[in-house]
Symmetry: D2
Subunit: 275 residues, 4 copies
């Protein structure tokens, strides 16, 4: 009863490869790099950031228009205005965009803009949302709940797949433990486990997984070495002034250096990081 | 920035008392007992259960019509049919009903049936849902997320209150830890903390908090002794055949005995358990 | 293989009653109250505290002469001088004393002074120490490791019992979780579980279990309501100046009030709190 | 007060390099591979294993003569006989040996055999033991407690260093979380953090960190990519028949393949894995 079927590698032994557009897939021998600011804060900032991360090696842009915030008094995103900026960035860079959808009622809107729909950590067991993204034909980036077991994570993917959409990309982003030095405890064992248990691609978010800019690059390297299919990382031109998660955002320069290092790790594990 | 204001006891030193109907309040010197099956499974079963828990001392009925389930292959509730059964049980017993709403799109429907809206543990940070229940005039039973800190829990209440609805009842239901003998680790320290930090009433769910029928009564007693304003408990005529959570459901007989014991604890801490 | 036998209630269905001296037992219908400062800091302070907690209702004195400290730069106890003060306090009050032994090499010394040997949370899996206290004829207060499962805790008791000493008193003192508001998360479910699984008495430490003086009394009440056989609590005349754990120590006045309230809970659950 | 000083990178900015013998150091640009069975089970098995892991690339042998066991009914090691086998293996292979010391009273014995003293996870806060190994002149492999924070881990190192011995090698071996698929949750973020905070070398134990043989190699790769100074891994000729931890032991063949892969990661991060 408590078992995933569609997400299981049993019966589907080969890796799933998710097609993002005619030029880009996730889950094959090519690794994927997704980058951008945590939130879309303004048109100028975002467009500049998009060009910078593209130059640094990003293949997909990230940016939140709807931001889940623990406090109701925090900045919660630009909503439709943010989506429009994302689309403008896509036009300027040629890179597809991934953005979070938090509310089933926003889905119709978001789907018109996003190339990949993100389901955030806090919504991993928002079963209505899972079902609705499962009815779309867009790839879904499914973040692991911050206290979800590997089994629950795969069952969340199963909810999406059972609704019809098999294009699920799993994303490990750290789990909640007793440790307080790091924001979360990144669980690279889960990446290895999920690659064994499931045919779905899995990427890693070292930004949330550590909560510290200085730790992002080493954990990104470790993720690729462990077998992840890519990373998603927060990049901001001016982390100190970011409206959200600045402490864990790296600069475009640090991002560029990190990608160079990742290419060496990719080679070492027989994967390819396209230019 | 990361602080609750409306939920805080500072500036609102006296306890909030939530009015459920003309005869019933939550949060004053009277304790509240909420009971019923986990899910509404069938009309006959539910109506019988409702009469039995009323006889045993319940003042409010619980029962899920929409059930969040980890696996997409599990029973997920009778939906509107379940709501209608709840209303029939209310008519037969005179007791108000609390039921979970999982999806903002169901809210308009649920609100026509429920006396109290439940926001479940997995949805504690479903901010759209919090906001929408915050626009209603129904009391909201806000379960603590299974890995939410006390601060995040109070901030979730703040989301509801900021939207206009101050009738929030907090519910501790156990948190996720390394322990596997119990389903969750019930955190009665959180009950004490929340009574210090906030003016909102707080009740305890010993069924989810332990996941074991034999542990429900002792933890219910402990909850009242710690200062909780009541309990919510799963009762089933035939726990072995329950479609959901049977292992943690107690029988109507055990429920009746438990309430007798709770009355003695209530007296010992200067609270009142109405007949 | 991974099962406790001697500690199990199977094969030993009746509760174990541990005899401390001719007048005092732990585990029967009488509840036990153990109180005193965290550490023995000075002769005058300790003797005064001992008289105050006796007046307030304590039946056993607690006080550390050897203190395990996370930092090597913290106060680590008066060692033998502390033990001598404990014995003087026993003579003055007539109350037996419990004190921690951290090192197998100190056991011969400590055993000459202590009525009950305490094995601390950090040493719950110090198997050499368990074995050695298991060879003595003194009752052992075995604190749960701060991240030990219930099974591991009972197996630690089994280590002591297998060495020959069946006089083990279990002590729940909170476990480590993601929560940061409280020092630990007190696990009263574990108390209920252990009473089911084992015949050994179990008491609760609300001081370490919460880490906050204001929360000690409510959690002590909850512990007794859940079925604990007693409590152990830190009391200090001047908590702000305590060399160890002052933030969680209550004053003698608060202790006296707490005991009065515990007596009412004891009555409500059919237990007896001797004068 | 709660701060490490001797272990801190402040005041000691350059990496510490621990000398094991005239040919071998830990903490410089060379990586270290420690391997062998969990426990020394018999002379023949151990000597064969030692030769096999040497052939596969191990530079140091591991093997427990004193085994901490959760249950008193589990195999707990061959004690002195085990130590003698270790020394014979050292003679046959030329490789130094690391073995655990659990009891201060065994230290004098163990020190005559071991090249590196291991303090196990359950003893990370056995402060007497820390102090005593701190008085020796042997390198100490200090495993992180399974629920220790990074700060507590560094303070445990500080206990050893304050006693006079600065040759501490930290070892991350996974922490306890809610996840049950893996035995522990390996915390590679802690490796990165510790390299920032301290000058001490840090290695990773992917065997305990995952509890699954199939996950050992990918996590070993990730560890090196994250910046660890080496790994310690359990290898057994016949994992199914191991007396301890067989489920997480890899075969000598798998070990040999793993080392080949690690060499490629070492190159990618600018480290050297000596032949």
């Amino acid at each position: 009863m408590k078992t995933y079927r569609l997400a299981s590698r049993e019966g589907h032994p080969e890796d799933s490869i998710i097609k993002v557009n005619d030029n880009l897939t996730i889950g094959g021998s090519d690794l994927i790099i997704i980058a951008g600011p945590c939130a879309v804060e303004s048109r100028d900032l975002y467009l500049e950031a998009a060009l910078l991360v593209k130059a640094g090696g990003a293949q997909i842009l990230r940016g939140g228009a709807f931001k889940p915030r623990t406090s109701p008094y925090s900045f919660s995103g630009l909503a439709q205005e943010g989506l429009e900026i994302l689309v403008e960035a896509r036009a300027k860079t040629g890179l597809p965009v991934v953005t979070e959808v938090m509310d089933v009622r926003d889905l119709e809107l978001v789907i018109q803009y996003a190339d990949i729909l993100q389901v955030g950590s806090r919504n991993m067991q928002n079963f209505s949302l899972l079902q609705e993204v499962g009815k779309t034909n867009k790839p879904v980036l499914l973040k692991r709940g911050f206290a979800a077991t590997i089994l629950e994570w795969l069952l969340a993917a199963e909810h999406i797949m059972k609704a019809g959409n098999h294009q699920v990309i799993l994303c490990e982003r750290g789990v909640r433990t007793f440790e307080t030095f790091t924001r979360n405890t990144i669980d690279l064992g889960a990446v290895v486990a999920v690659k064994e248990l499931s045919h779905l691609p899995v990427i890693v978010d070292p930004s949330h997984g550590t909560g510290r800019a200085s730790m992002v690059a080493p954990i990104a390297r470790a993720a690729i070495a462990a077998g992840a299919d890519g990373i998603i990382v927060e990049v901001h031109q001016n982390p100190d002034q970011a409206l959200s998660d600045g402490f864990q955002s790296i600069t475009p320069e640090a991002f560029t250096r990190m990608v160079i290092d990742l290419r060496r790790i990719a080679d070492a594990v027989g994967r390819n990081l396209p230019i």
